[in-house]
């Protein structure tokens, strides 16, 4: 098996991402814009429906919504794809010596591109609203890294679970559909009752990220506890996911 950090593997990573771009409509500017249509359609619908209910009390509500939609959509799309990645790429992984992590990371990166484009649009919106500061922008970078770590870690755990039980995919699809409602995408945590707020903050790993990201881009800045909570979740989930993946990848691959 080739070295994960070697030149060949880095080149492989780049080629896999490049091929994924060329394979989809991202290979053209119009295609990339087309893929952004879904989040903006969602943004428009949520804004029209909830503007009067939540828009008054939440600052820069369109930006608030777009951040929530971008985070939840990327998380849902990427993790759903990663859960079946060993199965979908079985011929490749059983007939070549490509590191399995590279295939996983290439998919995280490919879908992460669209998420990053949405983050750039959020940054432009934040500039428009005058809510972005240098400190906020700098604080965003570690949060995004931790978020990618969270997605990768959960994807790896999901890929291992899928090899044990095939309905993991269906269960996870159901969970990700619920995420749009159990994550403060269009409402604020403050609008919830104390027990609901506790559950949604502590049991939904996306909530600390979203709170910290919104604090950095819209303000007021989230407390250090929220920020550290988000970074810690990303790191711990990645380490746990990678450990689970490493210890079971061979048998998972054979079972898949």
């Amino acid at each position: 098996m080739r070295s994960f950090f070697g030149e060949e593997n880095r080149a492989l990573f780049v080629e896999l991402v490049r091929a994924a771009f060329k394979h989809t409509d991202h290979n053209s500017v119009a295609g990339a814009l087309w893929s952004l249509l879904a989040p903006f359609a969602m943004l428009s619908a949520l804004y029209l429906v909830f503007r009067e209910r939540f828009g008054e009390e939440l600052k820069a509500y369109p930006l608030y919504l777009l951040l929530g939609i971008a985070v939840v959509s990327y998380f849902a799309t990427a993790t759903r794809l990663l859960i079946t990645i060993l199965f979908a790429n079985r011929p490749l992984l059983l007939n070549t010596s490509v590191p399995r992590e590279t295939v996983i990371l290439s998919q995280v990166a490919f879908h992460g591109y669209k998420f990053l484009v949405e983050m750039v649009l959020c940054t432009l919106l934040a500039l428009h609203y005058g809510t972005l500061t240098w400190q906020g922008l700098l604080a965003t970078l570690p949060l995004l890294l931790a978020f990618f770590a969270l997605v990768t870690g959960i994807g790896m755990i999901g890929a291992v679970l899928f090899s044990f039980a095939r309905d993991t995919e269906h269960i996870w699809t159901l969970v990700t559909h619920l995420l749009m409602f159990v994550t403060p995408v269009f409402y604020g945590l403050e609008s919830l009752s104390a027990p609901a707020r506790f559950i949604i903050y502590w049991l939904n790993p996306l909530t600390p990220f979203l709170e910290a990201l919104r604090g950095a881009m819209i303000g007021p800045a989230a407390g250090a506890g929220v920020y550290l909570h988000a970074l810690l979740i990303g790191t711990v989930v990645l380490v746990a996911g990678y450990a689970a993946f490493l210890s079971t990848e061979s048998s998972a691959m054979e079972r898949t």
Binding site: E8, A19, K22, P91, T96, V98, A165, D167, M253, E254
Partner: protein, 290 residues
């Protein structure tokens, strides 16, 4: 000289599920301490060594464990027990169709397939035109791969893979659908490999193909090494093993009366004169042997 490859008592076990696994079935099995899988030993007690420059043919029937053994050598699978020591990591070509993307152009697929087989874009870029030309599809370099025939894809795959410079190469049944023209090109490539002093391990169901490049063979039978030795000796024994195989008969055509297979008539043999009947049979003389 130290070995290029050494396998000692290598075994590989797969756990085959009995049933489609769902979360509830897995949880129930855990609670009841049942197992949803059974063991399948694909390889058992496989030991052999290759010196640098050895050219080994792995032969065996379908499902005998050849590809599993190659995957172990390539590091794709890990052995369940035993030791595999490699002086150098091999480069393996298991399939000439896996590693391409059908929607991409031939030109893009050269880099993708190359990267999957350890060849960087930097290394392939100066050779790009030659690789496509060698595959005989220069006029198709901007076509999508899906528009190529299977044989053309195989030619492209082998043409890209020929750029590898590793000293240990593995080929698993890679020349299936190529035409005679490319078979001749491929023959030149494999002959050059065979003379280059590289270590080769190949499988094929075509004995003539293996005979052209290999000087040693291992016959794998039901996951075990049945015979290891000079190519001709092993192949002779392997070919003989097919002689007892029953032929597969086609089913009767629709509407045709089912063929009645009558048992063969007993051979007519000259009657043996009956021995004179004993007048009194001794008690307990039940011996019927003649």
């Amino acid at each position: 000289m130290s070995d290029a490859v050494r396998l000692v008592n290598v075994a590989k076990r797969f756990m085959i599920p009995h049933t489609q696994r769902t979360t509830l079935r897995v949880l129930r099995a855990l609670l009841r301490r049942e197992t949803l899988r059974h063991e399948l030993w694909a390889l058992e007690d496989v030991s052999f060594a290759l010196a640098p420059g050895d050219r080994l043919a792995l032969v065996g029937r379908n499902g005998s464990g050849k590809t599993t053994l190659l995957r172990l050598l390539a590091g794709i699978l890990a052995p369940t027990s035993g030791t595999i020591v490699l002086a150098e990591a091999p480069r393996a070509l298991f399939s000439t169709t896996i590693g391409f993307m059908q929607e991409l152009s031939v030109a893009d697929n050269v880099y993708l397939f190359g990267a999957i087989h350890g060849l960087t874009r930097r290394r392939l870029e100066p050779r790009h035109a030659d690789i496509i030309a060698r595959a005989g599809i220069a006029h198709l370099q901007h076509a999508a791969l899906k528009d190529l025939s299977m044989g053309q894809v195989q030619r492209l795959a082998l043409s890209i893979f020929a750029e590898t410079s590793e000293r240990f190469l593995i080929f698993d049944e890679v020349l299936g659908n190529v035409d005679r023209g490319f078979a001749r090109t491929a023959d030149g490539y494999f002959r050059a490999l065979a003379q280059s002093g590289r270590t080769l391990v190949m499988t094929s169901h075509d004995p003539a193909f293996l005979a052209a490049y290999c000087d040693r063979a291992i016959w794998i039978d039901a996951g075990r090494v049945r015979l290891d030795g000079a190519f001709d000796d092993v192949m002779r024994a392997y070919e003989q093993s097919f002689e007892d195989d029953p032929p597969v008969q086609p089913a009767p055509a629709n509407g045709a009366a089912p063929e009645v297979v009558e048992p063969p008539l007993p051979q007519m043999e000259p009657a043996v004169p009956a021995p004179p009947a004993p007048t009194t049979a001794p008690a307990g003389s039940g011996d019927t042997s003649r």
